[in-house]
């Protein structure tokens, strides 16, 4: 029952570069927004303070 009317799957070789390059960048952005306390961004607690309300209200542990 799997191949009738199924939209054509995007072949893995075409997905691979995106998964290898874009996903780490996007996850880094998410990390900086949600969790960084200076270790990665090297901005001290600036990112933490700037994203403070968002972290609390998006539900991640803030402090």
């Amino acid at each position: 029952m799997s191949d009738i009317s199924a939209p054509s799957a995007i072949p893995l070789p075409r997905l691979r570069p995106w998964l290898l390059l874009a996903v780490p960048v996007l996850l880094l952005v998410a990390y900086l927004v949600l969790m960084d306390n200076g270790a990665v961004s090297q901005t001290g607690t600036f990112l933490h303070e700037l994203m403070h309300d968002g972290r609390h209200l998006l539900g991640v542990p803030c402090h």
Binding site: S5, A6, P7, S8, A9, I10, R14, L15, W18, L19, A22, V23, L26, L27, V29, A30, L32, V33, L34, M35, N37, G38, T43, G44, T45, F46, H48, E49, L50, M51, H52, D53, G54, R55, H56, L57, L58, G59, V60, P61, C62, H63
Partner: protein
């Protein structure tokens, strides 16, 4: 194709992030302000000058009150640039927008991988099902174990372990979905057998993690229960608004794009 999906995910994520930010601003910020007011009152009531204190309790309070919340705190720990409350409220939209951007991009790539392989056949239904599943796996399951906390709740000394535990719960939620899907694909007895098997397969890792991972309860003595409840509701609501807006918009746009050639066979040139 992939790039189209990623751009769609990024833009719709950004938009849904601003929608969720607006919800958080209206329903969440009053609770954040109330919690900060309590935190500052508690810090003000602290007898010892916190900056000079080397004691355990004094240090904790200095951290909790001092590293944050700009004006009233006063005990900035050196490199931490103080960000005032109005800027933090603007930062809310920056945070939810960037969160939406990042999550939207990842979602689009997952969607690209699922399409034609797993789940509903039409893009709109797949977008809705994926967004709903993502909300449950990445938001609801971690929330049930480690619910969101307002300022003044949570010991700064344990932030790293709490963050790690939170990430573990996200991984557990995603793994539970993978296990459930794999199980559903193996059960051929009938639709209800398949659904029940998938549900049980989902619950086993979630319940196991819920029981095995350490509890976190750092609500200070006397913190108002109603404020905690309202804050947590606003926080979960923010994520629900985000994932609902994102799933609906992504599905809607995908269906419109997919439907365009069928509706107007001659592609409009310009």
């Amino acid at each position: 194709m992939v790039r189209t999906l990623v751009v769609r995910g990024l833009l719709i994520g950004l938009l849904a992030g601003f929608v969720a930010g607006t919800f958080a601003f209206v329903f969440g910020e009053p609770r954040v302000d109330a919690a900060i007011a309590l935190e500052e009152a508690a810090a003000a009531a602290e007898p010892e000058p916190a900056s000079a204190s080397a004691g355990e309790a004094g240090h904790d309070h200095a951290e909790a009150a001092g590293h944050d919340h700009g004006e009233a705190a006063g005990h900035d720990h050196g490199e931490g640039a103080a960000v005032s409350r109005p800027v933090q409220k603007a930062g809310l939209f920056l945070a939810t927008g960037l969160y939406g951007l990042a999550v939207g991009g990842v979602f689009a790539l997952v969607f690209a991988g699922l399409r034609g392989r797993f789940g509903p056949r039409d893009d709109g239904a797949l977008a809705l099902a994926s967004a709903a599943t993502a909300f449950v796996a990445v938001i609801l399951i971690p929330f049930l174990k480690y619910p969101a906390n307002p300022p003044a709740v949570g010991d700064p000394e344990t932030i790293n372990s709490r963050t790690a535990l939170y990430v573990v719960m996200i991984i557990v939620g995603l793994a539970a979905v993978a296990v459930a899907v794999a199980t559903a694909r193996r059960v051929t007895a009938g639709p209800w057998q398949r659904r029940v098997a998938a549900g049980v397969a989902f619950l086993v890792p979630v319940v196991a993690a819920w029981l095995l991972l350490p509890a976190v309860d750092e609500v200070p003595e006397g913190f108002p229960a109603s404020l905690l409840w309202n804050f947590r509701l606003a926080s979960l609501g923010t994520q629900l608004v985000f994932w609902t807006a994102f799933g609906v918009l992504f599905g809607w746009v995908s269906d419109r794009v997919a439907g365009r050639p069928a509706l107007s066979p001659a592609p409009s040139g310009g």
